[in-house]
């Protein structure tokens, strides 16, 4: 059983009291407990099981404008005492930083509404095994699939965030995650692909056979790929890749990147950064949402924010420290975005495929080719050549490259948005990028 609020609260207040007793002017503490159970399957039989049970504690102590932090997994009172002493000693010799402080009191979350993020259902390992068996049976019933690996993880967590302003709150969350990786082979190649589903509530997890079949189909269609020539071509990003563009955008508008001057979107507030049909929203209060939260990692209340309106950048993601540097109030985004999404475009998926006589449909990218300072983008990719709206053949060993500043302004979105993950996007087309192949 995951530890209850009372236990976590007592540890948190023990820490705060101790820090104050030692002379800290302010302090903030997070105590969390998490239990996970994973079952792994391979080729229709049990491969591994894994149980983890972890406590975690992190404390920040302030002495005026000086600050330092410690973290530990050992919650024995004696150990906590030693660590807080060490933390406070470090604080004393850490230089002052005028921007160090707890969040403003009136920004802290006051009412916690239930977002239904916890499902107490216990999915016993035997049931996980049954689920994975069904999943892999379905996946391997597809000819050409030579290997299947899958896993099911159940997680239950609880946490308390407390600070010396009297804020003390937290809540339980749960997640159920299942994934399947399949390998297919023909006379020309061996390919791998995957599918996964992750939900707060067990009843929302996809059917085992659907997941297995989808992974298998996505893998088989990649067999016998070709390499294409180097050219400028319009690129269509499958939903699982297009949401990655939002993650890059989120990193580039974090107050920390802006304050440090290391983002290509610095100073672009109220300017056009996307095509004028584009709207980006970050919504923390979606019921059962994978990214939902009542408050951010500093306790600041988080509300829905429109980050981009008709292509114009409206807000950064602001935490207390970097907010002070930029003269902005925290908007409850310490720790990043919550449920981030592009609003739907107004063209169907089918019409997007037909928009150009020839385009490249990308289903996977590899490499870390996003440079947030310059906006340059270059990654390895696999996908399909699409002609007149039809998938012609699989393509691999190519790269796609461009610069986000141009790419963002050339985005066309389909109207097929679904709320599956914490970051969601419709299928996306970007024109004018370069493919390097033969």
């Amino acid at each position: 059983m995951v530890k209850d609020q009372e236990f976590l609260k007592s540890k948190a207040s023990y820490c705060l009291d101790l820090a104050k007793k030692m002379g800290a002017t302010d302090a903030s503490v997070t105590v969390g407990h998490s239990i996970s159970e994973t079952v792994n399957f391979r080729n229709k039989s049990l491969e591994a099981s894994d149980r983890s049970d972890g406590l975690a504690l992190s404390i920040e102590t302030y002495l005026g404008k000086r600050r330092s932090s410690i973290s530990s997994s050992n919650l024995l009172d004696e150990n906590i005492k030693t660590l807080i002493e060490k933390c406070f000693e470090t604080t004393k010799i850490t230089p002052e930083d005028e921007f160090n402080s707890l969040p403003e009191k009136d920004l802290l979350a006051k009412q916690i509404s239930s977002l239904n993020l916890y499902d107490e259902t216990r999915f016993e390992n035997d049931k996980k095994i049954k689920y994975l068996k069904d999943l892999e049976e379905a996946a391997s019933s597809n000819k050409q699939i030579i290997n299947t690996e899958s896993s099911f993880t159940e997680n239950k967590s609880n946490f308390i965030l407390a600070n010396s302003y009297g804020f003390c709150d937290g809540y339980k969350t749960s997640s159920f995650t299942t994934s399947c990786v399949t390998v297919a082979k023909d006379e020309n190649s061996m390919e791998r692909d995957y599918e996964f589903s992750s939900k707060r509530h067990l009843s929302d997890i996809k059917q085992a056979s659907d997941l297995g079949n989808k992974a298998a189909k996505q893998t088989i269609r990649k067999l016998s790929p070709n390499k294409i020539g180097s050219e400028k071509i319009s690129i269509i990003f499958d939903k699982r890749i297009s949401k990655g563009m939002l993650s890059v955008f989120a990193s580039a508008i974090s107050a920390s990147a802006i304050a440090r001057g290391t983002s290509f979107l610095k100073g672009k507030i109220d300017q056009q950064v996307f095509a004028n049909s584009i709207n980006v929203i970050d919504k923390p209060d979606i019921i059962k949402g994978m990214g939902s939260q009542n408050f951010d990692s500093e306790g600041v209340n988080s509300n829905t924010i429109q980050l981009v309106e008709n292509g114009i950048l409206k807000n950064y993601l602001v935490d207390t420290y970097n907010g002070k540097k930029l003269n902005l109030k925290s908007n409850g985004r310490s720790g990043g975005t919550t449920n981030l999404y592009f609003e739907n475009g107004n063209i169907t998926y089918e019409d997007l495929l037909k928009k150009n006589s020839k385009s490249l449909y990308i289903t996977e990218t590899i490499g870390h080719g996003s440079n947030l300072v310059t906006g340059d983008y270059s990654v390895g990719a696999t996908g399909f050549l699409v002609e007149d709206g039809e998938f012609k053949y699989p393509v691999n060993e190519i790269t796609i490259a461009g610069n986000f500043k141009d790419m963002f302004k050339n985005i066309t979105l389909a109207n097929d948005l679904e709320f599956e993950y914490s970051v969601n996007s419709p299928t996306m087309m970007i024109e004018g990028m370069t493919v390097a192949g033969k």
């Binding site: 099981s49 983890s52 004696e78 150990n79 010799i93 290997n147 290391t262 310059t374 796609i400 610069n403």
Partner: protein, 470 residues
């Protein structure tokens, strides 16, 4: 050495007994105990931005029967907690029987000292170095707009208790010092990053004002990139510089030669043992035994002493890297490659220091032989798709080659290639093998472990460069 039992109601005798009881009918397994102390100190934007200390303690209990691995971890070292884990393992392995393999090779060699690098340098003197770095770089010229510098230090103590009471221990120091600088000139911004590290004390790396060399290198890379032009797109010849560019070997070849992917036959290399997978003259080893290197280990995380494993010898595939579990199922021996990020994770076969050995050509000869291509000196990160064999890595410093001469610097581009065939495209191997500066972390299945790489300059006849210029 940590004593894992002095603050617990669990005695060593209790632990021994429970381990033996639990693992009696299993093929393998152990109780892994770990205590780590780590710090990170960061200077950013003219200030000491964070100073964090962290201590972590826990155990991971593993039981293996045939192909099934049961694992349970907790950060509470107590009688109850270990008993719970034992019950959990038994319930997974219910009806399965095995024969415990007691054999663990022994070695007296140690590849680093039992030190705690965090305690060996005072916080004040670390802060002083970081401030000096900031001042030194900002004084250079007006184009320096941002400086980030950091120290990361760790001491990890482990103990492995096997069925029958055998105990194996190791104490592992690790440090890293990193500098990143951003320059801005004529509206263009570029970053340069450089770092050093390994399994010694901070001062072993920083003596003689060596921090200045780290600053100079980061500054030089950023300056080069300020002048960079768009990179070409398409297939061409690529000369790789010595040292860190060996992450190409790590991604293209290394991962595909890890035992688990080959046992499961999901690696593009699984049916190529004994076959020619590289040009003649290409020899690649994975070596855990180099003194004080980031990827070196006295024993691996299963207790096996590490070794120098020959992966490819003169073009022929010789060995995979093995942990005990995959080795047993493939009827071979562990190569001392069983590693885990920490007690929260299961052991996997992993790389240590992966190195291509020197040949006898010069870098100059390589450059001169290229009409049109690129010269890649440094890389960011890489990634591989084990199954299709396709891998990428990102240039952070690279130049055009035109008619046998090095030309303008080019913007960061991704290079993509095919693992099983790339080493057959190697047409020249340099005489200038170099180790990387000690900064690599390899990710696999969500676990990061410190690794090293090394190589001489090499010429690859055909690779796809992912630039924007057609």
């Amino acid at each position: 050495m940590s004593n894992f039992f002095n603050k617990s109601d669990l005695t060593r005798q209790d632990a021994d007994k429970l381990v033996s009881e639990t693992l009696n009918n299993c093929d393998d397994g152990e109780l892994y105990l770990e205590e780590s102390k780590s710090e990170s100190i960061l200077l950013d934007d003219n200030k000491i931005k964070s100073s964090n200390y962290s201590s972590d303690l826990g155990f991971g209990f593993r039981a293996i029967s045939n192909e099934v691995v049961a694992y349970s971890y907790s950060n509470e070292i107590s009688k109850d907690s270990l008993k719970n884990s034992s019950e959990n393992l038994k319930s997974t392995l219910k009806s399965i029987k095995g024969t415990y393999n007691h054999e663990i090779p022994k070695s007296n060699k140690k590849f680093y000292k039992d030190i705690n690098p965090i305690e060996q340098k005072t916080l004040n003197s670390k802060l002083e170095v970081l401030n000096k770095v900031n001042e030194f770089l900002r004084k250079k010229d007006a184009s320096v707009k941002q400086v980030t510098a950091s120290f990361a230090g760790e001491q990890k103590s482990i103990e492995i208790i096997r069925s029958g009471g055998e105990s194996l221990t190791d104490v592992r120091p690790l440090i890293r010092f990193n500098v990143s600088v951003m320059l801005e000139k004529n509206g263009r911004k570029e970053t340069g990053v450089y770092g050093i590290g390994g399994r010694q004390s901070y001062d072993d790396y920083l003596k003689n004002d060596n921090w200045k060399n780290v600053c100079e290198e980061a500054y030089r890379i950023a300056s080069v990139n300020l002048e960079s032009k768009p990179a070409p797109a398409g297939e061409m010849k690529v000369v790789l510089g010595p040292g860190w560019p060996a992450i190409l070997i790590h991604e293209a070849i290394g991962h595909g030669l890890e035992g688990d992917f080959n046992r499961k036959k999901t690696s593009a290399f699984h049916d190529l043992m004994g076959e020619k997978v590289a040009s003649e003259g290409v020899t690649i080893v994975d070596d855990g035994t180099i003194d004080n290197r980031r990827g070196s280990l006295t024993i691996d995380d299963e207790g096996t002493p590490t070794e120098r494993t020959v992966l490819i010898e003169n073009g022929i595939l010789k060995n995979f890297m093995q942990d005990r579990h995959n080795a047993r199922l493939m009827n071979t021996k562990s190569t001392g490659s069983g590693r885990r990020e920490n007690y929260r994770h299961i052991v996997l076969p992993r790389m240590r220091n992966t190195m291509m050995l020197s040949g006898n050509q010069t870098q100059d000869e390589m450059i001169k032989s290229v009409d049109k291509g690129i010269f890649a000196v440094s890389f960011g990160g890489g990634q591989v798709d084990i199954t299709s064999g396709k891998f990428v890595f990102n240039c952070t410093e690279a130049y055009e080659i035109n008619n046998g001469k090095i030309g303008s610097p080019i913007k960061g581009a991704t290079l993509i290639g095919d693992g099983p065939s790339i080493l057959k495209e190697v047409s020249m191997v340099g005489n200038d093998m170099m180790l990387d500066p000690g900064i690599g972390t390899c990710g696999k299945a969500g676990q990061g472990v410190p690794v090293g790489v090394a190589q001489p300059s090499i010429l690859i006849d055909k690779m796809t460069v992912g630039g924007t210029k057609l």
